[in-house]
């Protein structure tokens, strides 16, 4: 360790990580604290360990582009409470069901959805289109070349899904769910 004042330098590093709204590269830290890379890395590791032992809400993570001071994931809901006013948009049951069908059966036409739901879905489709949850995804070959619908990027984002393969498998879910309904009822009534 060639750093003269390691304790103070850790303070400097902490300040820089705090003030930055993005990962800070090792090089930047070296430039600001005027230290060598290996020393910077050692101090960063120590600081990281300090944070780990403090067991508070913050942590120092190392990601591709550098180091970042950030909150721990388990506190996310509190941050949400701070930033989110109490509002609820919500979807109607009809829209939600339609969305579920589109999600699993896409690309799918309006007619096919109606066949499954057994009712008209014009309004639900309009709502979902308007809220950018589904989009037109080409046209089906065949008579009238009906529009095909698929889910959007926003849909994935709202559910925090990487891609559509992340959706739980509905087949198994459905079979099993019917089977276990009875048992569930017993458990919750216990």
């Amino acid at each position: 360790m060639a750093v003269l004042f390691p304790e103070e330098t850790k303070g400097v590093i902490e300040c820089v990580l705090f003030i930055a709204n993005e990962p800070v590269s090792l090089q930047t830290i070296c430039d600001i604290a005027e230290i060598e890379k290996e020393d910077a890395l050692e101090l960063l590791r120590e600081l990281q360990e300090e944070y780990r032992q403090r067991r508070r809400g913050l942590q120092i993570i190392e990601i591709a582009k550098g180091f970042q001071l950030c909150t721990k994931p388990e506190f996310a809901s509190y941050i949400e409470r701070y930033y989110k006013p109490q509002t609820s948009a919500g979807l109607s049951k009809a829209a939600l069901e339609t969305l579920a069908i589109v999600a699993y059966k896409q690309p799918i036409t309006r007619g096919e959805i109606e066949l499954i739901r057994g009712v008209k879905v014009d309004k639900a489709i309009a709502t979902l289109l308007e809220k950018d949850l589904i989009k037109e995804a080409g046209r089906k070959d065949g008579p009238g070349r009906p529009v095909l619908f698929g889910t959007t990027q926003d849909f994935l984002r709202y559910f925090g899904l990487k891609d559509l393969k992340d959706l739980p498998d509905p087949e198994e879910f459905i079979v099993q769910n019917t089977l276990e309904d009875e048992e569930l009822r017993q458990m919750t009534s216990e």
Partner: protein
Amino acid sequence: MSYKIVLPIFEGPFDLLFHLIDKNEVDIYDIPIAKITEQYLEYIQSMQQLDLDVASEFLVMAANLLSIKAKMLLPKPPKEENPEEDELGLDPRDELVERLLEYRKFKMVAEHLKDKEQVQGRIYTRPNDEEMYMHLFNEENPLEGVSIFDLLDALKDVLNRVDEEVPTAREIPREEVSIRDKMREVLRRMVFHTNGLAFRELFVKSVTRVEVVVTFLAVLELIKLRKIQIHQSRLFGEIMIYNRREEMAQ
């Protein structure tokens, strides 16, 4: 003018008077009015010589000082029984002193504020991107309060209705893994993962698709029974399972 004179700038007549009182090291309660008035007028004169705009307030004060000076020169009225009241009550400087003292309070507070300003100017707060948080949590999320499980439920409802309409005979083998067993297993695993367990991890061991589904249902049930909670720190991030707060520190 070929030469440059640095003339201190005063905020107003009071500021200038304080400067003179300080410079002469005199008692504010006993201002040598003749001397101070003289210096005050000199300053105003040099301002005028430099073609500086002399604000009317300075001139008003000059007149005021001269008037006090004149009053001081008048013979004092004969002393009455209470000499103290005499001195305090009838001194022509009184009103000026009072105003100077009042002004001095705020002049000092202003200096205090200057110090505070300098310290505060060296303290930095985190420039949080409020927009980013708002966007993350607060954007028009039409799926507000809707979980992926609700989506599945919705699908189930539809398909159940379809099933009712088109009954199909299907043999369902008795399952050897019950939800209850799975729930216990999940809770047991949580004991060893106090810092959270990745949702995905729960399925690593599952051998059959049925087991996957049972595990999934067990998680749902545990959430419903408020035994565990689920967090996702960022979009597309890992879904983490935690013991509920109530259980955490036990």
